[in-house]
Amino acid sequence: MSVKYKPAIHFNHVDFSFDTTPILKGITGSFPEGKITTLVGPSGAGKTTLLKLCNGLFSAQSGEVYIKDRAIESYEPVELRRLVGIALQSAPMITGSVYENLTLPLELQGESLSKDDALELLHDVGLEKELLERKVKDLSGGQRQKVSIARTLVNKPEVLLLDEITSSLDRTSLREIEELIVKINRKYNTTIIWITHNLQQALEIGDYTWVMMDGEVIETGESELLKDPVNDKVKRFVRGEAE
C-alpha cells in the first residue's frame, strides 16, 4: 500500500507459525491511522492471527510490528491491549448483566464505570437504556455484538480490531453495526481494522483493503481495488471462486 497516511500499525517481514505450521509468511505493510482498513480473504488466510498480533495476544516469531511508530515489544502487554482493542467474532461475555460486562475493562484496573457513563455508551452504540440491567444471555446476536464493541470502547482504544463481527447477523443488525463503526471512526478518529467476508461491506465501509491468502498479503490498496483487482488469485476470489 502506498503510504499516504501515517501508519497506526506497521508490519515488517512478519512470520508466525503454530508449532511447525506457518500461518503468516513475510507480512509487510501498514494500516493507516484514523482510517478503516478491511482484511478480506478466504478462511484460513491468517487474518485473525494478524489481528491478534496487533494487540499482543500472539507474538510474531520473526519480523517487526510497530504500533504508532514504537516496536510492539516496548509496550507493556496491558498498556498495548488498552491502546489496541479487539472485538472478537463470538462476542464472548462474562456471565451477568450488560452493565457488568461494560464495567469489566475498568474493574480489571480496580475501578468501575458509572451508570451514567454506561448509559451514554449504550446510547452511542444504539442500544436502549433499558438493556443496562438485562442479562447478556437474553440479548440477540446484534445486541451482543454492540455490547461487545461498547465494552471494548470503555478502554478508549486508538485502534479498534474487529474480527468478523457481522458474520452471523441479520441485514438490519448488520447495517446498524456498519453505521456504528463508521460513527466511531469519524467521532473519535479511531483506526479500524476490520476482518470481513462481505466484499460489498469492504467496498462500502473500508477506506483501504488487504487481500490475504495462505498467510500472505496478496494485494493492498484503496477499497476500490476489489472492483478491479490486478492479481489473478484476487480476481478469482472476488468472483467467488477461491473459497
Partner: protein, 250 residues
C-alpha cells in the same frame, strides 16, 4: 485373627468370581489380580510397618513418608501433563500439606511423635492430597480448555493472567473441595468411617475412636483446602508466557 481365619475370608472373593463366571461379566481375571495384589501389597506394608515401628528410627519414618510422596506425585502428575513442571508443583504441594499438618499435630502435642502415629496419619494426608490434586487438575485443565474465549477476552481487555484465569481457578478449587465437605456432612449417618470401624473392631473405646476420627476429618478438610489452593496458584502462571499470552499447548 489367625492366617487360617483370614484364608476363610476368601469366600468373599469367591462370591464375585462365581457371579462373574455365571453372568459372563468377564471380571474373573481382574478380580484375581486385584485380590493377589492387595494380599501382597498389604502384607508387605504390614511387615515394613512392623519393622519401622520396632526400630522407631526417625530416618525410617522420613523414608516411609518420602516414598509416599514420590508414589503420590507420580500418580497425580499424569492428570496435569499440559501444565509445565507439574510433577514439581504436585510434590511441593504434598510436602507442604504434610509439613503443615504434622507441625500442628506434633507442635500442639495432639499426637505423639512416634512412627505408629506419624506414618498412618501421613498416609491419610498424602493419599487424600493426591486424590484432591487429581480432582483439581482434571477440572482445571477442562475449565481452561472450555473457557479459552473468556480467558482471551479478559486478556484482550487489558486484564492480567491472574484476572483472566480467576473464574476457572475458583471453580476448580471449589469443585475439588466439595466431595470432602459433602462426605463430612453425612458421616456417621450413612456409614462409619473405615479408620473408626477398624479401631472399634480392634477393641478400642468407641468414644476414643470417634475422637480420632474427628481429628482425621478436620485434618482432611485442611488437606483439601490447602492442596487445591496451593496447586491452583502454583499451576496457573505456567499457562501464560511473559507477554501475558495464553500458551498454545494449554
Amino acid at each position: 485373627m489367625s492366617y487360617l481365619t483370614l484364608s476363610i475370608t476368601l469366600i468373599f472373593v469367591l462370591i464375585p468370581l462365581v457371579l462373574s463366571k455365571t453372568l459372563k461379566l468377564g471380571l474373573e481375571k481382574d478380580t484375581i489380580i486385584a485380590t493377589l495384589r492387595s494380599i501382597v501389597q498389604l502384607l508387605a506394608v504390614g511387615y515394613v510397618l512392623k519393622f519401622v515401628f520396632d526400630s522407631d528410627s526417625l530416618l525410617y519414618i522420613f523414608m516411609m513418608v518420602g516414598l509416599m510422596v514420590v508414589a503420590a506425585t507420580h500418580n497425580a502428575q499424569k492428570k496435569g501433563a499440559a501444565i509445565q513442571g507439574i510433577a514439581t508443583k504436585v510434590a511441593v504441594t504434598l510436602i507442604s500439606v504434610e509439613v503443615l499438618t504434622q507441625s500442628i499435630l506434633l507442635g500442639f502435642n495432639i499426637t505423639p511423635a512416634t512412627a505408629q502415629y506419624i506414618i498412618p496419619i501421613s498416609g491419610m494426608v498424602i493419599g487424600n492430597s493426591m486424590v484432591l490434586s487429581i480432582l483439581f487438575l482434571n477440572r482445571f485443565t477442562a475449565e481452561v480448555e472450555s473457557h479459552q474465549d473468556q480467558t482471551e477476552l479478559i486478556l484482550s481487555l487489558g486484564g492480567t493472567p491472574k484476572q483472566a484465569i480467576h473464574r476457572q481457578l475458583i471453580t476448580s478449587i471449589k469443585a475439588s473441595m466439595i466431595p470432602t465437605i459433602e462426605s463430612q456432612k453425612t458421616v456417621g449417618l450413612v456409614q462409619l468411617p473405615g479408620m473408626m470401624s477398624g479401631q472399634i473392631i480392634a477393641g478400642a473405646d468407641p468414644i476414643q475412636a470417634v475422637q480420632f476420627q474427628l481429628l482425621i476429618m478436620f485434618l482432611l478438610l485442611t488437606t483439601a483446602a490447602v492442596t487445591s489452593v496451593m496447586l491452583g496458584f502454583l499451576s496457573y502462571p505456567t499457562l501464560f508466557n511473559q507477554r501475558m499470552q495464553l500458551m498454545r499447548n494449554s
